[in-house]
């Protein structure tokens, strides 16, 4: 069964450093998403991406965040200057449209 692949699985970074989280969505999917989940809490929407541009973003997705699809297969989330409160599990998801999302296994980001 097709999978969404995320790397790395864990990332520890110092406050103020930049991090890039990587995702390979399912190849025939057209819609891509980033969500995050702080430990034990709900899954929060960050951004959706379609046709090589952001289609929606949440209030969490401020100027410190950016997304790219650099080569037609990878989908990246960059956090420019990490804060302690950015510590969370970050999930990438993709969908074909009027269908469920397939989530990757996540990147656990710890900011120290």
């Amino acid at each position: 069964e097709p999978e969404v692949t995320q790397t790395p699985s864990h990332q520890v970074t110092q406050m103020g450093q930049e991090v890039i989280l990587r995702c390979v969505p399912i190849s025939n999917h057209l819609y891509f998403y980033w969500y995050r989940q702080i430990l034990g809490q709900k899954v929060e929407f960050l951004v959706s991406f379609y046709n090589n541009e952001i289609s929606e973003k949440s209030e969490i997705f401020d100027d410190q965040f950016s997304v790219e699809r650099p080569d037609g297969s990878n989908f990246t989330l960059k956090i420019r200057s990490t804060k302690l409160e950015d510590s969370a599990m970050y999930f990438c998801a993709s969908s074909a449209g009027a269908d469920g999302y397939t989530f990757g296994s996540g990147t656990r980001l710890t900011v120290v």
Binding site: Q41, K42, V43, G100, F103
Partner: protein
């Protein structure tokens, strides 16, 4: 836009039934249901698009009311594997995002 899920937690014995609910203050384009086990990613169960729709996945089924503001998930003859947190994700018309509720924690015991 965040949907409200209830009850927060359910404990049931293997073989018992349970109903968990998801409601919105606005009419929805769709409702998704996902199950997340501890330390894992959410896994898609089903999507409902039409008012009055009902769908099933194994012995788990869901309904979407006529006004498209409420969905219920029915766990029938529960199995140990049903344990996890169930999230509903709701999508409004014209949006391209799912808003997730806080989840219903389901624990099935032998």
């Amino acid at each position: 836009q965040q949907p409200v899920q209830s009850p927060q937690a359910v404990i049931l014995r293997e073989g018992e039934d349970a109903v968990i609910n998801c409601s919105s203050s606005k009419a929805l384009y769709s409702v998704h249901w996902y199950r997340q086990k501890h330390g894992e990613a959410p896994v898609f169960l089903m999507i409902l698009l039409k008012g009055g729709e009902q769908k099933g996945h194994e012995k788990i089924s869901a309904s979407f009311n006529e006004k498209k503001q409420q969905s219920s998930l029915y766990l029938t003859a529960s199995q140990l594997s049903y344990s996890g947190t169930y999230f509903c994700g709701t999508e409004l018309y014209g949006n391209n995002r799912l808003a997730f509720g806080k989840g219903n924690q389901v624990v099935v015991i032998p």
